[in-house]
């Protein structure tokens, strides 16, 4: 499963990069923005209020966003762990960080009490999301393009990308080395929108107390640095169902995936 997920991540990242280059060279008419589900939310207000899409967004963004809501209600943040090219890049950055700094977990250099961490995730991401939505709804433009790491990384120097845009991207990658997945955990607006849906998502990992030996391999493998070996069920809305934990667990039957509300 790990290998399959890695293939998914490589495929989506390469596809995004190729789409960006093709658009930049004039070989294609759809830019990487077309496939960003968050663009669907950015354009929703313009569609309701003005009966038209926000500039550079369209029905693909909207349909992908609606599909993503459906996915999150079942498979939580699986989009982030399996299909987001930016998530893949930041996960690889986190893996590099573990090697560079010889750390065993994805916790990085940032260790704060779990409750404070959870509050920060909600507050920071909500602030980013509210700012972006307010600005794009007021102007009818995607005004944050130049700050958006997805766009800066994959648009092949697209419209609105300036020198400072690369500075921001570099800073986010550097931050991702110190605090693995920092963008996804604390700043990503799509992550903010998916989190409450993911928290009630039906697919959950369950830990069998009888089988589990408490070795902690799952905790060390989790890119989101979640506590997997503690609770009987991973309820956190941050779980991307990447299944790194099940792959790392040496004890058969200790961790398994369950569809809640569908009988036993």
């Amino acid at each position: 499963m790990r290998r399959l997920r890695f293939l998914f991540q490589v495929a989506i990242t390469v596809a995004a990069a190729i789409a960006g280059v093709r658009f930049a060279l004039g070989w294609a008419r759809t830019s990487v923005e077309t496939y960003c589900p968050f663009g669907g939310l950015e354009t929703a207000y313009a569609l309701l209020a003005r009966k038209r899409f926000t500039c550079a967004t369209g029905e693909v963004n909207l349909a992908l966003f609606v599909a993503l809501v459906g996915l999150a209600l079942i498979a939580r943040k699986a989009f982030c762990g399996w299909a987001c090219p930016l998530g893949a890049v930041f996960e690889w950055t986190g893996r590099l960080s573990r090697r560079l700094f010889k750390r065993h977990t994805f916790q990085g250099f940032w260790s704060i009490p779990p409750r404070v961490d959870a509050a920060l995730k909600v507050l920071l991401r909500t602030a980013v999301t509210a700012t972006i939505l307010a600005a794009s709804w007021a102007t009818g433009e995607l005004v944050f393009r130049g700050y958006d790491p997805y766009y800066v990384l994959f648009s092949a120097h697209g419209h609105d990308v300036r020198t400072w845009s690369y500075g921001i991207l570099g800073a986010l990658l550097a931050l991702g080395l110190l605090v693995p997945m920092a963008w996804c955990k604390y700043l990503c607006p799509l992550g903010a929108v998916l989190w409450p849906l993911s928290a009630v998502g039906r697919l959950r990992l369950e830990r069998s107390e009888e089988a589990c030996t408490g070795c902690g391999a799952c905790d060390r493998a989790c890119p989101q640095a979640l506590d997997v070996s503690g609770p009987l069920q991973v309820r956190s809305g941050e779980c991307t169902l990447c299944l790194e934990c099940t792959g790392a667990c040496p004890t058969p039957g200790a961790l398994s995936l369950h569809l809640k509300g569908a009988g036993r």
């Binding site: 008419r29 500039c55 369209g58 349909a63 609606v66 399996w82 099940t246």
Partner: protein
Amino acid sequence: MKTPPWAVPALVVLFAALGIGGARLLAVPSVVRDYAPAGPGPRRTVVLVVDGVKCTDTAERAANQLKDAPGVVRLVAYASRNRLDVTFLPSVTDPAAIRAAIEGPVYDESSGEYLFGVYKVVEVDGVEAGK
């Protein structure tokens, strides 16, 4: 209910397909422009794919290109598909004249100058447009 791990990638693929496929059902025009009332007679609609039409603003500008074109009745733009559906009176004009009007110089209000090569019609009714 215990679920096999492959359910996760399967769901991701399924919902991505639903998203991309569902987009086809959501045709929301970026711009709808009715021109001066045209005379009687049968009407025809030509579907153009136009390089340069990529958002509401660029679709609006493309619509302006046709405001003085004789025989053009209505324009419906789907910017995210680079598509203009132009309804016209075949007794007065034809797709070639409409194409020429769209590809013509564009007046830029901010600079007060005419810009050339802003729009390029690349497809007419599903057929690649010739040079």
